[in-house]
Every structure is written in C-alpha cells, then in structure tokens.
C-alpha cells in the first residue's frame, strides 16, 4: 500500500522545485546585469570561481565559463530551452503515440500490422542509438531535437493505447454508440480514448524526464542545441576542457539538470501510484 502522506510530501517538493526552476529560467536572464550570450573581456573574466566579484563589481554566483560569461545566468537561460524542448518532445511523442495506437487498433488489418512492425523494429534499437542516428541526419537545433524526440518516443505509448483501445472496442457501450449511428471518429474520441488516456498520461509524464536527459545528451555530443544558445548539455560539454582546472563550469549545469529530472520522476511515480493504485516501477531508457 502506498503511504499517502509521504507521496504528497514528495509531490510537494517536486512541484516546488519545478516551479522554482521555471520562474528562475524566465526571470533570471531578464534581470541579469550581463548578457549571457555575449563574449566580453575574455582574459579578465574567464573561469572565475563561484562567488567571485569581477572588475565591474558584479558577483558571479557560480563563477564564469571559459568565455567569461556568467554561469548562473546561462544556466537559467539554458533551462528555458531544456525544459521547453523536453516538455514539447515528450508531449508530441505522447500525442503521436496515442494517434498511432488508437488508429491502428481501431482500423486493424494491414495498417495495424505495419504500424506495429515499425514500432517493434524501432523499439529493438536502444533509444539513444536511434536518437543519435536520427539526430545526425538533419541540421542540429532545438526544432530538430523536438522532432527527433517525437520520432523515437511514440512507440511505447502507441502500444499501451493500442492494447487499451482493443480492450475497450468490444465493450457494449461502444457497440451501443455504433448502433446509434455515431461516426467512428466520434466514438474513438468520446468513448474509447478517455479510457486509454490514464496509462498514456503516466508514460508521458515519465517521458518528460527522459526527454530532458536525452536532449542534454545530444547537446553534450554536439548533435543537439548549438552554442552560443545555451542548453544544460552543451554547457557541460563546454566546460569539459576546463574540467581539470575549473570543474564547476562543467558540473554546475548538471545540478539543475539532475534536479529537474528528479522532480519529473517523482511526479510521474506519484501519478502512476495514484492511477494504478499500487507501487510499480518501470525502468525507462536512460540518456
């Protein structure tokens, strides 16, 4: 039995954390005294340690990167991209999965078999490998990452929804709706899909965390968001050269990333416990 008080305690922490990150990502770059993208006096400013004060009197909470840009401001600006891309990628993948799963189950026949064969084949390649292959094909950037996340993330949800729809379509209330002459689209939308959405919602919520991890992974390898536009992944990659002398440059963006993914996982787990009524853990593909 899940203990509710503890669940809500975790959920409250997760929501507070995400809210703080979102607000920080929106506000901090707006009020920051220095431009997080512009490169100024590199020699005087680069690789300052955390809490350092520069010659202009600005305090750098997390120090500066190798171009002398404020790490904290860049980390928050990167949060905009990472959160948005992760959220969009997971939502679109979920939407595509619901669409494919529902239509395949409803229409059946060749369409169903082809869709599921492609899905199974894509599931047989580790998602990271698939993501790398997809990502390498088209010019890198935020839009490409979202599309690639969608293209590699729909299969799990599609299978879930397909199974649910197959289970529901023989129910008598669906037959009743058919007998009343409702159009197939309407039956699918009004009667069948609502029953299949619970499992899909959990999968999508947990998918946000994975999507953020995968985006940052792609960006880390240079195949995702391109500098000077910061993302947590490319910031970590940017600090790699200085890891021996100034490790905070690479490591601090990772803290924001870990906290975000942690909060998403806690929320997803809580949602699943609520919907499934029991504590079950599924392992998901890792970035």
């Amino acid at each position: 039995m899940p203990r509710l008080p503890q669940t809500t305690w975790r959920v409250r922490w997760a929501i507070a954390l995400l809210a703080a990150l979102v607000i920080g990502a929106i506000v901090v770059p707006l009020v920051a005294p220095t431009d997080p993208r512009a490169i100024g006096d590199v020699l005087a400013m680069r690789l300052l340690p955390p809490f350092a004060r520069d010659s202009a009197g600005h305090v750098h909470l997390l120090g500066t990167d190798r171009f002398g840009r404020d790490l904290f401001t860049r980390m928050m600006l990167a949060g905009r991209v990472s959160l948005l891309v992760g959220l969009l990628g997971a939502l679109l993948a979920g939407g595509a999965g619901i669409l494919v799963g529902a239509v395949a189950a409803w229409r059946g026949g060749v369409l169903d078999r082809v869709a599921m064969a492609i899905g199974d084949a894509l599931l047989a390649i580790p998602r990271l490998v698939l993501l790398l292959v997809f990502a390498a094909l088209w010019a890198p950037g935020a839009t490409m990452v979202v599309i690639v996340l969608m293209a590699t993330g729909w299969m799990g949800v599609a299978r879930l929804v397909r199974a649910e729809v197959l289970g529901v379509r023989t129910q008598s209330y669906v037959e009743a709706a058919m007998a009343l002459g409702a159009r197939p689209g309407r039956i699918l939308w009004r009667h069948v899909l609502p029953n299949a959405l619970g499992a899909a919602t959990v999968a999508i919520t947990l998918g946000v965390g994975s999507a953020i991890l995968l985006e940052s992974g792609l960006s880390f390898l240079g195949l995702g968001i391109q500098p000077p536009e910061p993302s947590w992944g490319n910031m970590i990659a940017g600090g790699r050269d200085a890891i021996v002398t100034a490790p905070w440059v690479a490591l601090s963006p990772g803290v924001a990333l870990i906290l975000t993914v942690l909060a998403c996982t806690l929320l997803g787990d809580a949602l699943r416990d609520r919907l499934a009524g029991e504590e079950t853990i599924t392992l998901r593909a890792r970035g």
Binding site: I125, F220, L221, I258, T280
Partner: protein, 326 residues
Amino acid sequence: MRMLAGRLAQSVLLLWIVATLTFLLLRAAPGDPAALLIAPSASAADVARARAALGLNRPLPVQYARWGRALLEGKLGESFVTREPVSLVLERALPVSLGLGLSSLLLTFLLGILVGTVQAARRGGPLDTTLTVASTAVYAAPSYWLSLALVALFTYGAARWGFPPALRLPAFGMRDPAGGASGWSALTDLMRHAILPVVTLTAIGAAGIARYSRTLVSDVTGLAFVQTARAKGVTPTTLYLHHVLRNALPPLVVLFALALPGVLAGSVFVETVFAWPGMGRLLVSSILARDYPVVMGATVLYAALVILANLAGDLALPVLDPRRRS
C-alpha cells in the same frame, strides 16, 4: 520447440525490418558522404567519381538489393572512411564495450539487489527514505555528468586535497602509454583505467535496480509463506537469501538480460568522456563522418543484441519460475 522456432523466425524478421529502416533512414539524410571524403576543392567530376566508387550513384532499390545480398552473406560492407571491413571495425570495438558493460552490469545487480533488499527490510524507516532519495537522484544524473564529476574528483580534487598515490586513478584512456605492454602489469593497468568508467555505469544502473528490487522484495515479504517462515523462527539472513530473494529473482534475471543492450548504449557517453575506443565512441564518430556502413553495422548489431536479450529473457523465465511453465 515449435514456439522456439516461431520466436526465432520472428526475431530474424524483426532484425531485417530494423536493418531496412536503418538503410532507408541513412539514405534519406542530407549530406553527401562522398563530398565529405575528398578535398573541398575537388571538382564536380571528382565527387561523381567518388560517388560511383562507393556505389552511391545507383538507384536506391539497386543499392538496397546489393546491400541486402551482402548482409545475407554476412558482409557488412566497407567503412567509407578507412576502407576496412565493417565487421573488423565492429570486432575491435565490441569487446571494449562488452567488457565495460558486463563487468558493470554484474556489479550493478549485486549492489542494486543488496540496496533494494535492505530498503525493503527497513521499509518506511529513515534508512529506506534516505536510500530512495539517493538512488532517485543518482538515477536522474546523466552518465556523462557523473563521469565528469569523477574525472574532476581524481584530477582537480586529487591535486587540491593531495590524494595518496594509490588513490590517484587514471581519468582518461584505456591504458597507460608508458605502462607494460603485456602480462600482469598490462592487466592491472587496464583495471585501474577501468575503475572510473565502471563505477559510473554501476552507480546509475544500481540506482535503477535498487528501485526495482525494493518493490519486488516488498511484494514478496507481504506474502503468507514469509510470515510462516518468520513464525518458525528462521533467521533474517536465511529468510531473505532463501525464501524472499529466491522468489524475487526470476524477474531480476530477465531484467539482467534486458539491461545489457541498455548498458551498451549508455556507455556512449562514458566512452566519450573517458576516451575508451568502444562501440559508443565508434557510433558517434562514424555518425559525424557520415560513414554509413559503420553506422548501419553498429545499429544492426545493437538491435541484434536487444532482440537476442529479449529472446534470452523469454526463454529464461520458465526455467527459473515453475509457475510460468504452461
């Protein structure tokens, strides 16, 4: 037996679909591998000649048929870049990744099951909560971040806090260029280099397994026979080793099979950070160079491992769990 043959046929078909999808995906990509291979100043005629030499000027169905027939003969083609057979390139990289993956996977399961069982035994207590928070946090960490954190600890940290020489672990590469080339010293050198990558992969994997086995073990401890064993005065060690884990083990063994390809894929980042010449690094570098045959070979190999692991998992379950024999 018939079921086995059916599953095998299904697996082969799935692998063929994967290979075809990969082929189509790579050909749909913009960017001409021939243009990447020769000097940018080359004339259009030179590019055309390079394309012809690679067989890229033929119609797509012809390319597919040629590639498919070669695949059936077990030939994966030649690397566009080094002109070596792809199978040779993969043969060189696979043992590196398999060695890293298997050793960390073993440690992952030992550590993960141990932590999960301790958590289940102390369920709801402060130790359980602490371990849950810790494992969820580690599980949320990207492997390249954890790798870099370890690199920082053993370079920046080692210099700053004066680590003793025994603790000064090498943070890059697979072997010391100045070290012994063979025998005992080469082996210890390799193992010292392997510590940080294996620790990274193990930490993340074990966090996931701990979460999973905590649930599994808790499910079993709630069953009546555990109560009976307790009432009969069985010691906690016997109870957990003999009664509880024996029952929680089958799904974990299946998970072990399923986890191997994931670990191999996950080592993309670890190999990149620690500069290990395995499959992950090979995949990234050949993608960047548009070395289609190598990318295709690596992807098909990854898929083959996943399909094989699924098959092994399916076959292992009835052997381990008499309740699944039907």
